[in-house]
């Protein structure tokens, strides 16, 4: 799909930003360019849509040399998302998303239909946000619009330069999870630049670790963690490899289906009987639409008449696309040994138990020991 063949970029002042980098990204793959600042990862991304011209080497997209394609035409077929500052402040959210479709000459109704569709895809209400300006949005909302804009004309390739940078960690994790879900739907070939190894392990099918303009190791996240090619990779990955290994496993791989349930208006005695019957210490409380409300714990049964009186609402939830390390830290901070797994609208999908994480952790540790 995308092939870089000994690509070199030397700036007029002699700086070697990228040095003979060769790599191939298959169709539908998400390739993360990772490395310390100044390693050439952003330059490597920007040579693909020729924002930065290369000094030596060749870049092929679907076998075609990119220099043979008209520059503007090439770029209109590659989605481009840079940090949130990339949104045009003088255009509405809708206009921003329609930039590339407009450049490609799509008819007006097709364009606005597409913009609505994309806003919904990134989890924003199109009626509410279509006519807002970027200055009226929060940081996280701007990032979402940035992703929607990159998808504007449905390009087969996406370039993303730290698309989830510069926002608070909680929103960041949510955006990552949502993006992973979107990615499964849209199946694009994606080049994703980040300096954050956690993000790289979580998002990437493959990771290209760079240093001083050179490609050091191009491998799967798991191989990068457990089969580092040299000392630099080992150091960059860090000593806490087993913990980082938790980034490799997603909640959905370990979660179990919907647990025994309770409704908020049920009587405590009924619920207590159910706990006995099922042999559990707690039940998940949901409303009539199946949305998660909290937990009801056996130790609290004497404290009220109905479930509503004794429900424990202060519990964290995670989505199925979250990785184990995130789930673990949510569990630790909530003090509850079971984590409710919900979908985008807070509907209960299943649960993840601490025991399951423990088991996974020991497996990861074994994998490390067996090398």
């Amino acid at each position: 799909m995308i092939r870089l063949d000994q690509v070199t970029k030397i700036y007029p002042d002699g700086t070697e930003a990228v040095n003979e980098v060769s790599l191939e990204v298959g169709e539908g793959e998400l390739c993360v360019l990772l490395g310390p600042s100044g390693c050439g990862k952003t330059t490597t991304m920007k040579v693909i849509n020729r924002i930065i011209p290369i000094t030596k080497g060749k870049i092929y997209i679907d076998g075609t040399d990119t220099t043979k394609i008209d520059e503007d035409e090439l770029r209109r077929n590659i989605g481009y998302a840079i940090q949130e500052i990339g949104l045009f402040p003088h255009m509405t959210v809708g206009q921003n998303i329609q930039v590339v479709p407009a450049l490609k000459g799509w008819p007006k109704d097709k364009r606005s239909e597409r913009a609505e569709e994309l806003l919904e895809l990134v989890g924003m209400n199109s009626a509410e946000f279509m006519n807002k300006y970027p200055s009226e949005l929060s940081g996280g909302q701007r990032q979402r619009v940035g992703v929607a804009r990159a998808l504007g004309a449905d390009p087969p390739i996406l370039l993303m330069d730290e698309p989830f940078g510069a926002i608070d960690p909680i929103t960041r994790v949510r955006l990552q999870d949502e993006f992973l879900k979107i990615e499964q739907e849209i199946k694009k070939t994606i080049i994703f630049v980040t300096h954050d190894i956690y993000e790289a392990i979580k998002m990437g099918d493959k990771i290209a670790l760079m240093n001083e303009g050179r490609l050091v190791q191009y491998d799967t996240p798991s191989n990068l963690l457990f089969k580092p090619k040299n000392e630099f990779v080992e150091q960059f990955v860090g000593a806490d490899r087993a913990l980082k290994g938790l980034q490799l496993i997603r909640v959905k791989e370990l979660m179990t289906g919907t647990p025994p349930l309770a409704k908020a208006d049920e009587r405590v005695v009924t619920v207590q009987a159910r706990m006995e019957r099922e042999g559990v210490d707690c039940l998940a409380v949901v409303d009539n639409e199946g949305k998660f409300l909290g937990w009801v714990d056996r130790v609290n049964v004497g404290k009220g008449e109905t479930v509503r009186d004794i429900i424990n609402r202060s519990v964290a939830t995670a989505t199925a696309n979250a990785v184990l390390s995130e789930a673990l830290s949510l569990m630790l901070s909530s003090g509850f040994k079971t984590l409710a797994i919900v979908d985008g609208i807070n509907k209960l999908e299943g649960v993840l138990s601490f025991d399951a994480i423990q088991l996974a952790l020991s497996e990861v540790a074994q994998r490390r020991g067996s090398e």
Partner: protein, 221 residues
């Protein structure tokens, strides 16, 4: 002061005539100055034109420092040699266009050059041509600063037009110079005060126009 007021109540038609003439001269000059200044500003803001930009801006600055009386004299000389009318409307408008250049040209140039490079990269990255980048990104983002320059230029020209009366262009400078020649304080006051009021009113109007043409997303709330 009292005499000035009495004169105005006696001859409102004359004052109205001078004011209209004044506005007409400024309008024609500004219209030409905007087209010229914005076009030139866009041209010199293009990449690779930095050396031209420096000299053009320097020239415009020098022209600003030439006293208006001297410039009118100079223009009479030049227009005379090429056989055009040396007094009246034409030389006045030419001089005013020259004075209007600096604020418009400089603000256009700066506004376009100062557009956030991230915006330009985003536009390019999405496949905009240079032209599309200029009209869809750079110019809309530059509008507030260009408008501020235009507003400056208009107020400046309203003042200078008063002096253009000396080469027979008409306008509110007429009573001022007539008063100076005949030691008539009332006429000087009428001309001076009218010019100031006109400048204030137009400045206020331009403030509204500025808000109106600024793209909504750029407005400060």
């Amino acid at each position: 002061m009292v005499e000035a007021w009495q004169w105005v109540t006696k001859h409102p038609d004359k004052l109205a005539g001078w004011t209209l003439e004044h506005i007409w001269i400024v309008s024609v000059a500004i219209a030409i100055a905007v087209v010229l200044g914005v076009a030139l500003g866009i041209y010199i803001s293009r990449p690779g034109k930095e050396h031209i930009a420096d000299s053009v801006l320097y020239l415009a600055e020098i022209m600003m420092t030439v006293p208006s009386l001297a410039l009118f004299g100079l223009l009479m000389l030049i227009l005379g040699t090429i056989g055009l009318k040396v007094i009246g409307f034409l030389p006045a408008v030419i001089a005013l266009v020259i004075y209007g250049q600096l604020p418009i040209l400089r603000n256009t140039y700066i506004a376009i050059r100062e557009v956030d490079p991230a915006m330009i990269e985003a536009g390019k990255g999405m496949g905009m041509s240079e032209r599309q980048l200029l009209f869809k990104v750079k110019l809309p983002l530059a509008v507030p600063i260009i408008m501020a320059g235009l507003r400056n230029a208009i107020v400046l020209l309203i003042g200078i037009t008063a002096i253009a009366a000396i080469i027979g262009a008409g306008g509110l400078g007429v009573p001022i110079f007539r008063g100076l020649r005949n030691a008539r304080m009332d006429l000087i006051i009428i001309g001076g005060v009218s010019v100031s009021i006109l400048a204030l009113v137009v400045d206020g109007l331009m403030g509204r126009v500025e808000r109106w043409v600024t793209p909504r997303g750029l407005k400060r709330r």
